[in-house]
Symmetry: C2
Subunit: 217 residues, 2 copies
């Protein structure tokens, strides 16, 4: 929850031992410390204007609209933008899901699109996936990165020349077709799209190889 910026956790009828242990654990987050224990779902969602339940894959309930997560999250965000009051996302236990009574508090349901073969999903993973979709921003730009400077043509040519030298001196190049081989190599090297830094490194290595090849002649 905290990873995706959702900080208001409410637990209905929490399993005491596990909850207290988690709460008092070393490094327990502020979120756990401020989590509210409620006796009923009604109490937990009392201040919310929209309650969306999460349905397990096998869920069948023709009464309540069931939406795929992608679309449901969009509707939740629209509601959140229009309303100052809270929105609740309600999860059932991993084993039993939401009861019929729980469902009666839900305006509609959302399901994570998963393979039909599976009847359920790990609860922690289901929560993470739902909150990720709510926090998701398809139009957000990537973080600015240190620009990677591409090697200029002269550097690329120095590499190609050196490599051609080596091929020549190694007897790889057929003198009759040397010109076309050299062109081919030049194009190959260009296609590598080397960065400035990498180009320098390659040139150094190739020069060393050429020196070695020269000594062997």
């Amino acid at each position: 929850m905290s990873n995706f910026g959702f900080l208001d956790l409410r637990l209905v009828n929490a399993y005491d031992v596990a909850f207290r242990e988690a709460r008092s654990a070393v490094g327990a987050s502020a979120l756990m410390a401020s989590a509210r224990e409620c006796a009923t779902v009604a109490e937990a969602v009392g201040d919310c204007t929209l309650v969306v339940g999460t349905a397990s894959p096998g869920h069948r309930d023709p009464q309540t609209p069931l939406r795929r997560l992608e679309r449901g999250a969009r509707l939740m965000k629209q509601h959140a933008a229009a309303s100052k009051l809270g929105i609740a996302l309600l999860f059932g236990s991993e084993k039993f899901g939401l009861s019929n009574e729980d469902l009666s508090y839900c305006h509609w349901l959302m399901r994570i699109p998963t393979r039909g073969e599976h009847e359920s999903m790990n609860l922690g993973q289901a929560v993470a996936v739902c909150l990720y979709e709510l926090a998701r921003d398809g139009r957000a730009p990537d973080k600015k990165q240190k620009a990677i400077h591409t090697a200029d043509g002269a550097s690329v040519d120095r590499i190609a020349d050196t490599f051609n030298d080596i091929l020549n001196r190694s007897g790889y190049t057929n003198p009759k077709t040397a010109a076309s081989t050299e062109l081919k190599v030049r194009r190959m090297v260009r296609r590598l799209g080397l960065s400035e830094k990498d180009a320098g490194m390659w040139l150094g290595m190739l020069r060393q190889i050429r020196w070695k090849v020269d000594r062997g002649e």
Copy 2:
């Protein structure tokens, strides 16, 4: 993994005890049974044409392009559509993430957009979120639902009429402004957007109330 349709798990240097236990557990999936153990990352990704690493939120490496999950997943899908060979998504251990050596096998990195306050994320949840994004389909329609038949105008009017009757007989309606009150009630009832079935139920209840009010006159 299996929830989202990804069935090819490869483990590098797996923690033996935990892995064997999971594999031999009752109800272990076919996925676990067919998981391949590899000695090195090189072996695990040897048949892949694209290897994408996952970076922890605190990751800093100006050399390797780092993309937000939303965009990275799009690029991976484009690559998958163009290539017949495999694509690997590489996760490090929850504690240490990917090592520099692991990173050297990655064409680029992806990060899950999370709050800056967090240095890491639960591994199982991170995997679920990444695979969800890869399987995600923003344009998929919701599953066909049993159509909810909306009550027709006549039923709505019967309800409004009955309710107006009750208000009249209860002394709520001021005779001087009765016409405008009746209109207001009619609009209110229409805004309820009742289903056919619910409308029948409401009408039954209101008729009962009217009968009671009549008897009290």
